[in-house]
């Protein structure tokens, strides 16, 4: 394994090139009561830093290095032209507080992206402000709340959420001070209409809306979606769509046509902005006209041949500083302009095709949780495998790493026993999927012939299974030379031939 950067530090070494001080040294006069006494950052050359982080990068699995069928995450190829576009100086070095006449290019990107997302979602208005999917949920549900308040409908504080939903949905409601009613999903994986009708009847005048994921987190299209929207609207409530699974619909189905009032769109899923190892993402929100007056500020409008920022009349306020994750807006814009409507339609069709290919090719090995066509992802259940061999899906996915594949999602959806949520995405070839399918079959065979081999996997990764229990019970959240646990770290173990041999802790006061 790679040493920690602090262990590579050498006192006095310099990794930067900065101008000399060429004015009077005013800073020398900063009084002692304001001045800090010490600052211990590591001291390294640029090459030390490069090698360290390049070696760290090599410990990661990524889309660029292999098949990443992580369900609900849409790990599709991230085109490199997006990066060139986002790195242009007129974008990357544009200051957010410049006057409107200096930033017309950036505003044009934002305006046109708003328009394109509206067209794809079948909606009337759009904000690019939210920084992530969960932030989009927060923004969208704040719109729902503001809408009811504006009508004097202040008792509506309940939100209906299927128990198959992402954890962010209920957490979003809590962070808005709203109360969640969890709806038990029907045996077929769809919303149980009787359960929904009862929840609405029991809480008349109190339901603000429903958060639904389309297609569902089980990879199924909700057949009653239009009826669900009608029921909610008749009860005075609104329908929020979690757009995490937009990759199944983009260019083909517009959520607005299904009766959805408001949804967020994950630019880092459907629209190929990179996940970055956990962000930054971007979660624009699109809505119908009745919610537009409440959108967060600013939105970008066009006045003649100029682009301007505007504050909606009854705005919920700001949800973050400045103007959203602009760097992600450029990447999504670039992707949509390259695909056009026809290209995006093929995106969703191939995503559905690939997921169904995996579903059918694996159905005799690990069966799907629901025996019907899926959309862009499929949930398998390892329940039978566990009964027959004692091997859990956790073991299966750890063994998949030995075969060179990233694990599918297994911690979710919560309502399927021993689940494996597989989302191949449209950018994967049949050959890649055939390789994955063969690996899955081989692992299931191993589970029967040599279950311990699978239960103790992975065997070929740099590290074996990690002790997460101890990590949480006795947290060690930073390197600290005075911590006895750092005294025993593998300094100078010679495991890495490129590592400098003399390792000293930082000088500390």
């Amino acid at each position: 394994m790679e040493a920690l950067i602090f262990e590579l530090s050498c006192p006095g070494r310099i990794g930067h090139s900065l101008p000399e001080i060429d004015t009077d040294d005013y800073a020398a006069a900063i009084p002692a009561e304001l001045r800090r006494e010490s600052l211990d950052l590591p001291e390294l050359s640029e090459l030390d830093v490069m090698r360290h982080f390049v070696r760290l990068s090599q410990l990661n699995y990524s889309i660029d290095s292999g098949f990443y069928p992580l369900g609900s995450c849409t790990m599709k190829y991230n085109p490199k032209i997006n990066e060139d576009a986002a790195g242009l100086p007129g974008f990357y070095h544009l200051h957010p507080m410049q006057p409107e006449y200096e930033i017309q290019g950036a505003l044009q990107i934002q305006y046109e992206l708003q328009e394109m997302l509206k067209a794809l979602a079948g909606m009337d208005a759009c904000t690019l402000q939210p920084a992530a999917g969960a932030h989009g949920e927060f923004t969208g549900m704040a719109l729902v709340r503001a809408y009811h308040r504006s009508r004097g409908d202040t008792d509506r504080n309940l939100v209906l959420i299927p128990d198959s939903a992402h954890g962010t949905n209920p957490a979003t409601c809590t962070s808005l001070g709203m109360t969640v009613i969890s709806l038990k999903t029907g045996a077929d994986g769809n919303v149980d209409m009787a359960v929904l009708e009862r929840a609405l009847a029991d809480n008349q005048g109190k339901v603000a809306g429903m958060m639904i994921t389309v297609p569902s987190t089980l990879g199924q299209f909700e057949p009653n979606i239009v009826k669900i929207a009608d029921l909610l609207h008749a009860a005075g409530a609104l329908l929020y769509c979690d757009g995490a699974n937009m990759n199944a619909m983009v260019g083909e189905i517009r959520p607005g046509d299904l009766g959805v009032d408001v949804l967020h769109i994950n630019l880092h899923k459907t629209f190929t902005t990179p996940h970055g190892g956990g962000g930054p993402g971007s979660g624009p929100v699109a809505c119908k006209a009745n919610l537009a007056p409440f959108l967060p500020t600013p939105i970008v409008a066009r006045e003649g041949d100029r682009y301007v920022m505007q504050t909606p009349e009854h705005t919920i306020g700001k949800v973050r500083s400045f103007w959203g994750n602009f760097g992600m807006h450029i990447r999504a814009y670039t992707y949509i302009r390259q695909q056009g409507a026809s290209g995006l339609k093929e995106v969703s069709r191939d995503a559905v095709l690939n997921a169904n290919y995996i579903r059918t090719q694996l159905q005799d090995t690990i069966p799907p949780a629901h025996d019907r066509p899926c959309m862009h992802e499929v949930v398998l259940t390892g329940k039978r495998l566990k009964q027959e061999t004692g091997v859990k899906t956790l073991d299966v996915v750890k063994r998949l790493m030995d075969y060179g594949y990233h694990a599918p999602t297994i911690y979710f959806p919560l309502i399927v026993e021993e689940c494996m949520l597989i989302e191949p995405t449209e950018t994967e070839s049949r050959e890649t999927m055939d390789g994955f399918i063969a690996a899955m079959k081989a692992i299931v065979a191993e589970a029967h012939s040599d279950p311990d081999l699978v239960k103790t996997a992975p065997h070929n990764t740099q590290l074996g299974r990690l002790d997460e229990v101890t990590a949480a019970r006795d947290p060690k959240l930073r390197w600290l030379p005075s911590d006895p646990r750092d005294a025993e770290s593998n300094w100078g173990s010679g495991r890495n031939p490129n590592q400098v041999s003399k390792l000293e802790p930082l000088n500390r006061d």
Binding site: L94, A142, G177, H275
Partner: protein
């Protein structure tokens, strides 16, 4: 479709393998009439057409590298070493997901662990999370965190916080029945039953204050001290830890990111040890694998939304990891000497600028307090007009117009990127404009 792997023949073969005649059969659950929606988008462009189009659009904006710029106000044009973007663009970092499978994510996990350590060192705080959306949402989340810790519902905030932070705080507080009290002198406010006091250093107007007695006063009232900091300033100035802050938050952009038209940035958040289990966001911890080798995992996850669902106190599930990676590389390259130098250069050039501007007839520094690299001058004419003229005549990006707060107030900023020559050019122009009158 660009980036497709399938030929028409392969698609047909796959449909047959699935057991259907055509793709529409897979859309059985979609209500009639809802597929094949007409969608009006611009026609697709090939890659060379596209890059030409994007370059044309980007040229409609004026960047702070090409033009002299004196703009700060929450986003700072500090030097970004070339190595940072090189590392951030490595596909292994850029196209990985959140490190939920630690065996395949040690690169991201160790980088976050190093980030946490570096921010702890910079701030003098005990623990740091993996990052938030940006500085403003960190402020809001810190306030909510305080209300969870001490179950009080009033937040006193300095009105010299960045205005966006106050706006976002108000948006986040809505729904929790939290009262936000914005005041010029938060330490003189009535702190009874107050959950937290939020102070920014340097504040929105660039001022720095001696905060050594702040914590004692705040703690005596049973409240928490939330300090909003500017990471570059910590190259010279006392850290939140030295001021005994309970929670320290800041905007991570100055640590290795371009100003990027406002995002993506990264929110920095640290706290004292005793509050770690109330802190939102991801945290990486050190552990061992089955062979006793050192490794890293996401930890303390029982705080988070994917475990706690409606019982979670925050819905956040991102940590702006790639921006945090850039900040990690930045701090490693700068080291202790480099960060101090950046802070000194920013401080010195801003003070040189202030000294020169204050000599021009009609210009006057508005505040008398010490400042870091940003300050307010009262200009003889409206700052918006001044900015327009500087732009039209000299291609200079002027300061930020704060005339809503200070009459003809113009917030000017300098960093190590603001050269002495640029300062002298600006001063000469202002001098000339002043003499015209």
């Amino acid at each position: 479709m660009v980036y497709s792997a399938h030929t028409p023949v392969v698609r047909d073969e796959m449909l047959r393998a699935i057991g259907v005649q055509n793709i529409e059969e897979l859309y059985v659950d979609v209500p009639a009439g809802k597929i094949n929606a007409p969608i009006n988008l611009p026609a697709p462009l090939s890659e060379p057409e596209l890059i030409a189009e994007i370059r044309r659009i980007s040229a409609q904006s004026a960047d702070v590298l090409t033009h002299p710029a004196f703009l700060g106000a929450g986003a700072y044009n500090h030097f970004v070493p070339a190595a940072i973007r090189f590392i951030q663009q490595r596909g292994e970092f850029q196209t990985a997901y959140t490190p939920y499978q630690p065996e395949l994510s040690q690169g991201t996990l160790q980088a976050i662990y190093e980030f946490q350590t570096l921010i702890c060192e910079l701030t003098g705080m005990d623990v740091t999370n993996a990052g938030m959306y940006d500085g403003s949402t960190s402020v809001a989340e810190a306030a909510l965190m305080a209300t969870v810790i001490n179950r009080r519902k009033r937040i006193v905030v300095s009105d010299a916080l960045h205005p966006h932070s106050i706006d976002v705080l108000r948006t986040y507080a809505d729904g929790h029945k939290i009262e936000i009290i914005a005041t010029a002198n938060p330490l003189d406010a009535d702190l009874s039953d107050v959950s937290a006091v939020i102070v920014q250093q340097p504040d929105f107007f660039g001022r720095i204050a001696d905060l050594r007695s702040a914590a004692e006063k705040i703690h005596a009232a049973g409240a928490l001290f939330i300090l909003v900091y500017y990471p570059i300033a910590l190259g010279l100035l006392k850290s939140p830890g030295e001021y005994d802050a309970d929670i320290a938050v800041g905007e991570g952009q100055p640590l290795g990111s371009g100003v990027n038209f406002g995002g993506p940035y990264n929110g920095l958040m640290s706290c004292k040890n005793q509050y770690v289990r109330s802190m939102p966001g991801r945290i990486v911890g050190q552990t061992k694998d089955t062979n006793g080798q050192r490794g890293y995992v996401l930890t303390l996850q029982t705080r988070e939304q994917h475990i706690r669902r409606e019982k979670a106190t925050s819905n956040i599930c991102t940590n702006s990891a790639l921006i945090a990676l850039g900040s990690t590389v930045y701090m490693c390259m700068m080291g202790k000497a480099g960060l101090k130098r950046v802070a000194e250069l920013s401080y010195n050039r801003a003070h040189y600028l202030a000294e020169q501007v204050a000599k021009i007839p009609g210009y006057k520094l508005h505040f008398s307090e010490p400042f870091f690299n940003e300050f307010v001058v009262e200009a003889p004419i409206a700052p918006a007009d001044l900015n327009k003229r500087l732009w039209d005549e000299a291609g200079i990006i002027g300061g930020y117009d704060v005339s809503d707060r200070v009459p003809n107030g113009w917030l000017l900023c300098a960093t190590e990127m603001t050269t002495k020559a640029q300062i002298e050019q600006l001063v000469a122009l202002l001098q000339r404009y002043a003499e015209e009158k």
